[in-house]
C-alpha cells in the first residue's frame, strides 16, 4: 500500500487549505494549495505568473529538511499501526497492507487515514496494488481520505490506460510520445528485448514498471528494538535505599542490552509506580552516557525527594529517551573530535528549548545592520538571501555596531531650542541635533557629535516593502554611540555601538 499526502511542502509549512499558498523553489512553483490551484496556479509556474493569477498568494521558500522533519511524525504514527514503513520521499510512503488484522485492505487504509487525519493531515490518499508503482498510481487517483484498491494480478490492467507521463522520467516520456506511444499499455506491449536494445537498462526498468511487475522491493524502516527495562518489586518496597539496591541488576541489563546494539543512552526517563499507578516520572540527562551506577544514582535521587513515595513502590521502569551510537562516545586513539562533542551537546540544548531556538550565525549582505545578520536553526544550512560581497550602497562603513536591536527603539532627537529635527525630501537635515534620548525609558543627554543623514531609498519598486529612511550616527557626551534612523519624521534607534 502506498500512502500519498498531496502538496506535502504546503502541508509542512502548515498553511490552512482554504488560503491560497505556494512553495517556491528557484523561482518556480514547486507545490501549491488547493485554493491556489482553483485560482489557476500550476506547478512549474514562475513566481510572477503565479502572483498575477492569484494576487493573494502566500509564498513560502522550499525547505526540504523541514518537509522531511514534518513527515517523520506521520511515519511514526503509521508505524504505531503497522510496522515496516518505507519512506519514499516526504509526502509519500509505502507499507505492507495489514489487511488480515483490520479485516480487509480498504478497511486497513481507512484506519490509517483516520489516524493521519487526527494528526492534522487532512488530505491523505491510499493506493493498494501488487507493485509499488501501481500502488503509487492508484494513490494518485484515489479521493481524499479514501483508497483505491487494485485487485491482485490487476496491476497491468489498471496501468494500461494511464498516460506515459506517469513514469515521471522526462527524457524517456518525451521520446515515447514522439514514437506515438501515449499510454502505458502501448509501452508495455513492446517486447522486453526490444525495449532493452533501444532504451537500455533504465528503460527496461521502466518497462517492467509499466507492465505492473515489481522491479524493486521496498526497503522498510527497522522498528527500533525495545530497550525499556522494568523492575517489578514483589513484595513492594518503600525505602529509597532498598529500591536503589534492587534496581542495580535491572540497570546493568539495561546498559548491556543497549551496548549489544552498539548504543549508549544519554537521556533516560525513570518512571516509578506505587500501588499500580504512576507516582513519579522524571527525565534525566547525562553529559556523556549512563552507566549502571549512574542509573542507580538517578533512581535514588528521584526517590529521595520528600513526598514522592507515599505508598510502597511496586515497579521501576527505565525508558531510554535518547540513544546514541557507542562509536561516537568511544575515546579514539588520537583523542575525540571536539566538533562531534559540540554537536551532541547542542542537540541536547535543542531538546530543551526546541529545534529553532538554537541558531548558527553568519553575516550576509544588506544595507542596515539588522539585515546583515544571518541566523539559521542549528543543523540546517544557512541560506543567505543577499550576497555579502556586493557593494550595498547606503550601508555604513565599519565599525559595525555591537548591539543590533531586534525591533528599533523609539528615540527622540531635538535641536537647541527643543524643536523637532527631521530630514527634508531632498535629504537635508532641518537643524542641528542638540539633545537626544536613545530609548523611551532613558535619560536625555546632549549630543557630542553626529553625522548624517545618509538616505536610503529601499525597494522603491515594491509598494508594500518600500522604505525611505535616513541614517544618523549620534554620540552622546558620555561616549555612548548610536545608529539612528529617521522614517516619516520619527526617530528610531537601530543599533548601539557599545
Amino acid at each position: 500500500m502506498v500512502l500519498w499526502a498531496p502538496d506535502w511542502p504546503i502541508v509542512a509549512v502548515e498553511s490552512s487549505a482554504s488560503t491560497p499558498a505556494a512553495v517556491l523553489h528557484k523561482g518556480h512553483v514547486l507545490a501549491c494549495s488547493q485554493a491556489a490551484r482553483a485560482e489557476g496556479v500550476r506547478r512549474g509556474m514562475r513566481r510572477r505568473d503565479a502572483q498575477s493569477r492569484c494576487p493573494g498568494l502566500a509564498l513560502h521558500d522550499y525547505n526540504p529538511d523541514a518537509d522531511a522533519r514534518a513527515f517523520e511524525t506521520v511515519l511514526t504514527a503509521i508505524e504505531e499501526l503497522s510496522p515496516g514503513v518505507a519512506p519514499l520521499r516526504p509526502g509519500l510512503c509505502a507499507i505492507n497492507v495489514p489487511a488480515r488484522f483490520y479485516g480487509g485492505e480498504a478497511e486497513a487504509a481507512a484506519v490509517i487515514a483516520e489516524r493521519l487525519v487526527r494528526l492534522g493531515v487532512w488530505d491523505v490518499r491510499a493506493g493498494i496494488a501488487d507493485g509499488l508503482f501501481a500502488a503509487e498510481q492508484a494513490a494518485r487517483r484515489a479521493l481524499a481520505q479514501d483508497s483505491l484498491v487494485v485487485p491482485p494480478g490487476g496491476s497491468a490492467q489498471f496501468l494500461r490506460d494511464l498516460p506515459v507521463d506517469a513514469l515521471d522520467d522526462e527524457s524517456i516520456v518525451g521520446l515515447l510520445r514522439r514514437m506515438g506511444l501515449l499510454t502505458l499499455g502501448d509501452f508495455a506491449a513492446l517486447a522486453p528485448a526490444d525495449v532493452h536494445t533501444r532504451f537500455g537498462t533504465h528503460g527496461e526498468l521502466l518497462h517492467r514498471m509499466a507492465r505492473g511487475l515489481n522491479p524493486q522491493p521496498i526497503s522498510r524502516r527497522q522498528v527500533p528494538p525495545e530497550f525499556e527495562a522494568t523492575l517489578m518489586l514483589e513484595p513492594p518496597l518503600d525505602l529509597a535505599e532498598q529500591i536503589a539496591f534492587s534496581v542495580r541488576t535491572t540497570a546493568e541489563k539495561f546498559v548491556t542490552d543497549l551496548a549489544g546494539h552498539g548504543l549508549v543512552c544519554t537521556t533516560v526517563l525513570i518512571e516509578v509506580d506505587t500501588d499500580g499507578s504512576l507516582a513519579t516520572s522524571r527525565r534525566w540527562m547525562h553529559p556523556r552516557w549512563f552507566g549502571p551506577t549512574d542509573l542507580v544514582d538517578r533512581v535514588r535521587w528521584q526517590l529521595s525527594v520528600d513526598g514522592v513515595i507515599r505508598a510502597p513502590v511496586d515497579a521501576v521502569r527505565l525508558i531510554p529517551e535518547v540513544t546514541e551510537p557507542l562509536g561516537d562516545h568511544a575515546d579514539s586513539l588520537f583523542g575525540g573530535g571536539p566538533d562531534e562533542r559540540v554537536e551532541r551537546g547542542v542537540a541536547r540544548v535543542q531538546s530543551i528549548v526546541g529545534h529553532e531556538a538554537v541558531v548558527s550565525v553568519s553575516v550576509q549582505g544588506g544595507r542596515g545592520p539588522a539585515e546583515r545578520q544571518l541566523l539559521a536553526p542549528w543543523g540546517e544550512r544557512p541560506v543567505a538571501a543577499r550576497a555579502v560581497g556586493l557593494p550595498w550602497p547606503g550601508s555604513l562603513p565599519p565599525p559595525a555596531p555591537a548591539t543590533v536591536y531586534l525591533e528599533p527603539q523609539q528615540a527622540m532627537v531635538v535641536g537647541a531650542e527643543g524643536q523637532a529635527i527631521g530630514v527634508t525630501g531632498r535629504g537635508m537635515v532641518t537643524g542641528e541635533p542638540a539633545r537626544f534620548r536613545a530609548a523611551a525609558g532613558q535619560d536625555w543627554q546632549p549630543v557630542a557629535s553626529w553625522a548624517g543623514p545618509w538616505p536610503v531609498d529601499d525597494q522603491w519598486w515594491d509598494e508594500v516593502a518600500a522604505r525611505r529612511i535616513a541614517r544618523f550616527q549620534v554620540v552622546g557626551v558620555d561616549g555612548s554611540a548610536y545608529l539612528m534612523i529617521v522614517e516619516g519624521g520619527s526617530w528610531w534607534t537601530e543599533a548601539r555601538y557599545d
Binding site: 562603513p397 565599525p399 555591537a402 554611540a481
Partner: protein, 216 residues
C-alpha cells in the same frame, strides 16, 4: 623539634584541587590587547559591561579553535563580532532560552570552550555556585554581560572617546577606551585600548608622547 617549611598558598591550593579531583585552572588564549591586564583561565567567570568587550574577550579563545556560545542575547551584533576576531562558524546562539536559561547555559558549558551569557536580572546564589562548579569541572570560560555575583574579574569600559565623527560630518571610525579590570580585592588595573582603531583592529593604545610647545 624541627618545623617543616610552611607550604605556600599556591601549593596548598594545588593540593586541594588535586584532592577534589578537579583540574587546576589552565590559561586560555587571550586577545593580545589584554596583555598585562587580564589572562583568561579555564573554570573562571568574567563580568563585562559592554558587548564589544565581551566580543574582544571571546576573540582570543575563538581564534584559538574554541567553540563559543551566546545565551540570551538576540541583539548580538554578528558583524562586529566577526570584525573583533570571533570565528562565527564556531559560534552558537541561543537567542531566547526563556525559563530554561540555566539548563541551556549548563549544557553549553559541558561542550563549549567559551559561553557568553546575558545575565538575568535576578539570579540565586545556588545557581551561581552550580554553574561555577560546572565551569571548573569542564574547564570552560564564562563571560557574563551584566553583573554576576562572585565572578573572578569584572571588566568595565570608561572614558569612551570616538574618533572620526564631527558635528554633522565624518563617520565613526575608532574608539579609544579605558578598560578597568577589577579582580577580587586586588587593586584595579587599567589600560588604554583602541576598541577598535581606525583599521578595525583591537589593540593597546600607546601613550602618545606629550607635545611640547615653546612658550617663549
Amino acid at each position: 623539634m624541627t618545623v617543616a617549611p610552611a607550604p605556600t598558598l599556591d601549593e596548598l591550593r594545588a593540593r586541594v584541587d588535586q584532592m577534589q579531583g578537579r583540574p587546576a585552572a589552565q590559561p586560555v588564549a587571550t586577545h593580545p590587547a589584554f596583555a598585562g591586564l587580564l589572562q583568561l583561565q579555564t573554570g573562571s567567570s568574567y563580568a563585562v559591561d559592554s558587548a564589544s568587550l565581551a566580543m574582544a574577550l571571546m576573540a582570543g579563545p575563538s581564534a584559538d579553535g574554541a567553540w563559543c556560545g551566546v545565551v540570551g542575547s538576540a541583539e548580538f551584533g554578528l558583524e562586529a563580532a566577526a570584525a573583533a576576531g570571533v570565528e562565527l562558524r564556531r559560534t552558537i546562539l541561543v537567542p531566547d532560552p526563556g525559563e530554561a536559561w540555566l539548563e541551556v547555559t549548563a549544557a553549553l558549558i559541558d561542550v563549549l570552550g567559551v559561553v557568553v551569557v546575558a545575565a538575568p536580572a535576578e539570579i540565586s546564589g545556588k545557581d551561581v555556585s552550580r554553574i561555577s562548579a560546572r565551569l571548573r569541572q569542564r574547564g570552560a570560560v564564562l563571560i557574563t554581560y551584566g553583573d554576576w555575583p562572585r565572578c573572578d574579574a569584572r571588566l568595565s569600559l570608561r572614558d569612551a572617546e570616538w574618533v572620526g565623527l564631527g558635528r554633522g560630518h565624518g563617520h565613526l571610525q575608532g574608539r579609544r577606551v579605558t578598560v578597568e579590570v577589577q579582580r577580587g580585592t586586588a587593586p584595579v588595573r587599567t589600560g588604554q585600548l583602541w576598541l577598535p582603531d581606525r583599521a578595525q583592529v583591537i589593540r593597546r593604545a600607546e601613550q602618545e608622547p606629550t607635545q611640547l610647545r615653546s612658550v617663549s
